[in-house]
């Protein structure tokens, strides 16, 4: 919506985006420092809160570094008219970005790939048979994209589902790893993701020790896969504890 009718001037950002690929570390260069000074196997501190949106059945807010997301859960409610009868419940997921989430002003559109990935990551954890014929909607909005957006959305969504009282086998915690040269860095930030050689994202139910979603990109050898998966599984179980604490705090606060 331009301020003056009929004028939609072309604009550009004064930040010219002179992002040259930083001197990528060679095979043995272990002195390389991550942009935020973390160790290679150290996650960003995670902050979770449930009940961010009052008009939703359940909601959660998550903040890891500069990655900030809100997830709202609506339902179980009536499925769309065109849907056929189903004796298990349906899950409907949508992930979108704000126009100011990314460094370059975007269109703030839906993210189809993430929406489908979110669905796949959650469906294995939800007891769909507990809400037959109805739909649960999980909507996520990325307020600020700071890297590892999808894993943060997934973890946050499982908390929002718990807040909405949807029956689940376990919370779903998600962590990703970037492969840079020969090194694995966990919970990459946007800058690291932009020049990664490969990535792995793992979502799991920590108490059941079950993987609900796993994706790789790039070329991986078997020992690397083992190492990266173990790294993610350990991080997921830690993240799961943080998420659990958040739910307990919310429950004890509402009892008072």
């Amino acid at each position: 919506m331009a301020a003056k009718p009929g004028s939609a001037p072309v604009t550009y950002s004064p930040n010219l985006g002179q992002k040259t690929r930083p001197p990528i570390f060679k095979d043995n260069d272990l002195d390389w420092v991550r942009p935020d000074g973390r160790g290679f196997h150290q996650c960003r501190p995670a902050f979770f809160r449930t009940g961010a949106v009052n008009s939703a059945s359940g909601s959660a807010y998550a903040e890891l570094g500069s990655t900030k997301v809100i997830v709202s859960v609506f339902g179980p409610r009536e499925s769309k008219k065109a849907m056929m009868y189903s004796d298990t419940g349906r899950l409907n997921c949508n992930v979108s970005y704000t126009t100011f989430a990314t460094p370059v002003r975007g269109q703030g559109s839906d993210h189809k790939e993430f929406s489908s990935m979110l669905l796949k990551a959650l469906e294995g954890a939800i007891m769909l048979e507990t809400f037959p014929k109805t739909t649960v909607d999980v909507f996520a909005l990325v307020l600020e994209s700071g890297g590892s957006d999808l894993p943060v959305v997934i973890s946050c969504a499982s908390l929002a589902l718990a807040d909405a009282g949807i029956m689940m086998y376990d919370l779903v915690a998600a962590v990703s790893v970037s492969c840079l040269g020969k090194n694995l860095v966990i919970d990459p930030v946007l800058e690291e993701e932009s020049y990664q050689d490969g990535s792995l994202m793992l979502t799991c139910m920590p108490s059941r020790y079950e993987v609900t979603q796993l994706t790789f990109t790039g070329e991986w050898s078997t020992p690397d896969i083992n190492e990266a998966m173990q790294l993610c599984l350990d991080a997921c179980s830690k993240l799961g504890k943080v998420m659990r604490t958040c739910l307990k705090e919310a429950a004890s606060a509402s009892q008072e």
């Binding site: 985006g17 992002k19 690929r21 990528i24 189809k112 790939e113 489908s116 990935m117 669905l119 796949k120 469906e123 294995g124 954890a125 086998y169 492969c179 993701e193 932009s194 020049y195 990664q196 050689d197 490969g198 990535s199 799991c204 139910m205 059941r208 020790y209 079950e210 993987v211 609900t212 979603q213 796993l214 994706t215 790789f216 990109t217 790039g218 070329e219 991986w220 050898s221 078997t222 896969i225 083992n226 998966m229 599984l233």
Partner: protein, 287 residues
């Protein structure tokens, strides 16, 4: 959707448990693969792959474009899959959209490697004509004509075949160009460059039914799956991509076991596919 009676379901599950599937295959046997190349004359390369009743076409189209500012030394590759309503009534209208997105994303992840281009089946630096100025943009389109399970493996095989069938016109660059101008290019009509397709991985989807997993599941078998994992493996035996295709959670050790099974299966599949592609190209030249 496949409507199966309880008896049929038991028959399928029982067969898989006893390593004898409904169509007589073993758990880790593929259906016969038929490859035809050059099926779409307008495209730079194309192939049709049939796996039983599953039938897919892949086409490759190349256009000259400008590399992105962030990666001046790389061409761009886009993969998009469309599910034709002829394959199943549910693909009509917007019905196939979700599956199309899922397949497109899985193929991009398995074939294009990491953000930096490492591990990609097609080396994106080979698409550059003038660094920072001119490059080839590859548009790879997949079309599902008939669907009887295991679409992803069939599409990956079709893309591999289409790429080996692809000839990209040779480009001559005019010499005198200033640094800030877009150089003039001449596209040759006669000389074509071929891709090195030996590094392109194949995708092996393992579908878990009961306690066992099978390759190349038909739609009937897919309806009985508890979960499925698609693994892309190249000739060197390295994993180039992996996607879990929903379903229930899996123990990490099972996933690792699936990866090693996929590696084993992929060797045979790559050999089989390569010989089929070679045969198809030979028959195309004859005719």
């Amino acid at each position: 959707m496949v409507g199966l009676s309880v008896g049929e379901k038991h028959f399928i599950q029982g067969g898989i448990a006893q390593d004898l599937r409904s169509d007589g295959r073993k758990r880790l046997t593929y259906r016969p693969i038929y490859v035809e190349t050059g099926v779409i004359p307008q495209a730079h390369g194309s192939a049709r792959v049939r796996l039983g009743a599953t039938d897919v076409i892949a086409s490759v189209k190349a256009e000259l474009g400008k590399p992105s500012a962030l990666q001046p030394d790389k061409g761009k590759i886009a993969i998009y899959v469309d599910c034709s309503p002829t394959a199943a009534p549910m693909f009509e209208g917007r019905g196939g959209e979700e599956l199309s997105t899922e397949l497109s994303v899985a193929l991009q992840r398995c074939l294009l490697g990491g953000k930096s281009g490492a591990g990609a089946g097609i080396d994106p630096t080979s698409l550059v004509v003038v660094e920072g100025k001119v490059c080839w943009d590859l548009y790879i389109d997949g079309l599902v004509i008939s669907s009887d399970g295991n679409l992803l493996d069939a599409l990956a095989a079709a893309i591999k075949a289409a790429l080996s069938n692809t000839g990209i016109p040779k480009v001559d660059v005019a010499v005198e160009t200033r640094s800030d101008e877009q150089p003039e290019v001449n596209i040759s009509d006669e000389e074509f460059l071929q891709f090195d397709t030996s590094g392109i991985p194949v995708i092996v989807t393992l579908t878990k039914v009961g306690r066992h997993y099978i390759v190349d599941a038909t739609s009937e078998e897919e309806s009985q799956m508890s979960s499925a994992v698609s693994i892309s493996v190249n000739r060197k035996g390295h994993i180039c991509g992996l996607t879990k295709r929903g379903g229930v959670g899996l123990d990490p050790s099972i996933i690792l076991d699936m990866i090693s099974v996929a590696k084993h299966v992929s060797e045979q599949l790559i050999n089989k596919l390569d010989s089929e592609i070679a045969a198809a190209e030979a028959s195309e030249e004859e005719s």
